[in-house]
Symmetry: C2
Subunit: 339 residues, 2 copies
């Protein structure tokens, strides 16, 4: 195999507060030759997700920090371009965790082969992957939605929130989203079928929640924490369930922000419970079967927001925190031959 | 029946912040004559509990506010002095909710007859009553203690906390209390058998929790919320359970204080869940059987702090918020003929 140059976006420095382009660097390195049993693949799609902000810091978290001067971590869908591992053939599509770079090389133990006939290969990074599982398990296991209940979800136009509201609808609930632009709210209600959507940047939250949730809130699927959680707590019903799945509102904070007063939890005998999708990985089959059915029968719609070019990853990533994307954010690192 | 004068402590005005003696008034009114089917009783013990602070305000809560110029509400153990109800005989001891007054009169539907042979009658207001049930159900149902786990409880010398730690020990857990004086800490460890107790007023909480909970915290039984909850969150283990049972630290606040940052819930997949004992009243028998056994076999010890005289109720009540009492706080309104 001739020498291959690999472009990478590496973590150059740890951000203090909001990440900037200064924290990233585009570097080009020569790939080593694949050894016996190894498989080389070329990245087609790179997933960009809010959790990556945590990896950029070296404070305590549920995962170890990204290393400086190495490719930023991230989920990828790739095409096998060279294989010395009998489990993979050239041309196979695989789900992996190769990070922000053009090529990945390993013994392939962490890879999962994708069938492009079953679903678009990019779905493995979204609705059929980690964001879809996050929406599915946190809503169903912690939220336990019952017909007729009201489910509120923050970041409703995002990769996870957009799925949460649709599952809520499938379960017979009223689904109310929170999003940061009128256009996102339009997508959430008109395209995704939520019953209502609140633009939390322009609407007064308290009265908007009262108006859109006339019977109170039974489940609040929280992707953001912060002031939205505090406002929601004023409207929860007896026995409300609050899966806490993300704290997007504070990922860029330089000091931990304060939290909401919890008296409503006591008055309403409600619960807040943290959720990490990694705890549910062993239940992938159960998830994939039901989610696959919903997609095939068009009970659930899925939106992607695709940015072209590895070099644009830092800017696209930063947009996650300023509300630039609608749907799952992906970077197309190389052409997708299946579409 | 000759005319009977009833002394009452009434709510004269709603407190702004900490209650003061100005908010209460001692009044004397004539009792009306008992009607057909009614039962008149004389209060022996009045229970004083932190939740009463909530009743003094007219903000939103889980119970309606106490009425101005009426007797403050509260649990009582009384002796039947006159009965026109065949279900009660003169001399019977009854548990009721007669409030801060010398006499109660009603059709008796809400009363429960007590057997002074089974347990001291005052226990019905403490370890065998609402505080005991609060300790028992919130710890067992939400906390779900498993052998070898570490249970931390705030207000550990109080009516509820002192029982929580002892149940934790019975369940094979390490029990660590938080209390506000060295003397309370001594009681908690030496008399009640907790493994450790932190004086949160004199010790640096973070290092004290680290030292007394070397394996982290699996259950935090929270009676107080506020800064102690925030500190505890820094030491919780994966899957920690936090029954939120009281918010003593903020009952006197004039504006709702901020809460803790909740990122630890996500990282540790932990939960905070509000608890109100009223939801468990139908499970009294289950509780009474097990708690009664623990008391009889001396696996669990119970302490009372008794103040004499109805007129001293306001001062004793205010002491709940400044940490005056150790164990269950009661007012002896009239002599207990069983002791």
């Amino acid at each position: 195999m001739s020498e291959l140059m690999n472009r990478q976006i590496v973590l150059k420095s740890r951000p203090h507060g909001e990440p900037t382009t200064e924290n990233f660097a585009l570097v080009e390195t020569a790939m080593r030759q694949p050894g016996e049993g190894e498989v080389l693949r070329r990245t087609i799609y790179l997933s960009l997700d809010p959790y990556m902000r945590g990896r950029m810091s070296d404070g305590p978290s549920y995962a170890s920090p990204a290393a400086l001067n190495e490719a930023m971590p991230g989920g990828t869908v790739s095409k096998v371009v060279y294989s010395r591992n009998p489990a993979f053939a050239e041309g196979d599509f695989v789900l992996g965790y190769d990070g922000w770079q053009e090529y990945g090389l390993s013994d392939g133990q962490e890879l999962r082969t994708l069938d492009p006939v079953l679903a678009p290969i990019s779905y493995a990074l979204g609705v059929m992957g980690m964001p879809g599982m996050t929406a599915y398990f946190a809503l169903l296991d912690i939220g336990k939605p019952k017909e007729g209940e009201t489910v509120v979800v923050s970041a409703a136009a995002g990769a996870v929130g957009s799925i949460v509201g649709q599952i809520a609808k499938i379960k017979g609930c009223r689904a109310v989203g929170l999003a940061g632009t009128d256009e996102k709210c339009r997508v959430v209600t008109e395209d995704l079928g939520f019953d209502a959507c609140i633009n939390y940047k322009t609407q007064e939250l308290d009265s908007a929640l009262k108006q859109t949730c006339p019977n109170g809130i039974d489940i609040y699927y929280d992707n953001v924490a912060g002031p939205i959680l505090a406002a929601v707590l004023g409207h929860i019903n007896l026995g409300a369930r609050i899966p806490l799945v993300g704290l997007i509102s504070q990922y860029n904070a330089t000091t931990p922000p304060i939290g909401p007063n919890l008296v409503a939890l006591l008055i309403k005998r409600a619960q807040i419970r943290g959720f990490l999708v990694t705890d549910c990985m062993h239940r992938y089959a159960e998830f994939a079967s039901e989610m696959g059915t919903w997609l095939r029968t068009r009970k659930l719609r899925y939106r992607e927001s695709i940015v072209d070019g590895l070099e644009n990853s830092p800017t696209a990533f930063m947009g996650l925190f300023t509300g630039e994307n609608t749907g799952k954010l992906l970077v197309r690192v190389s052409q997708d031959p299946t579409v």
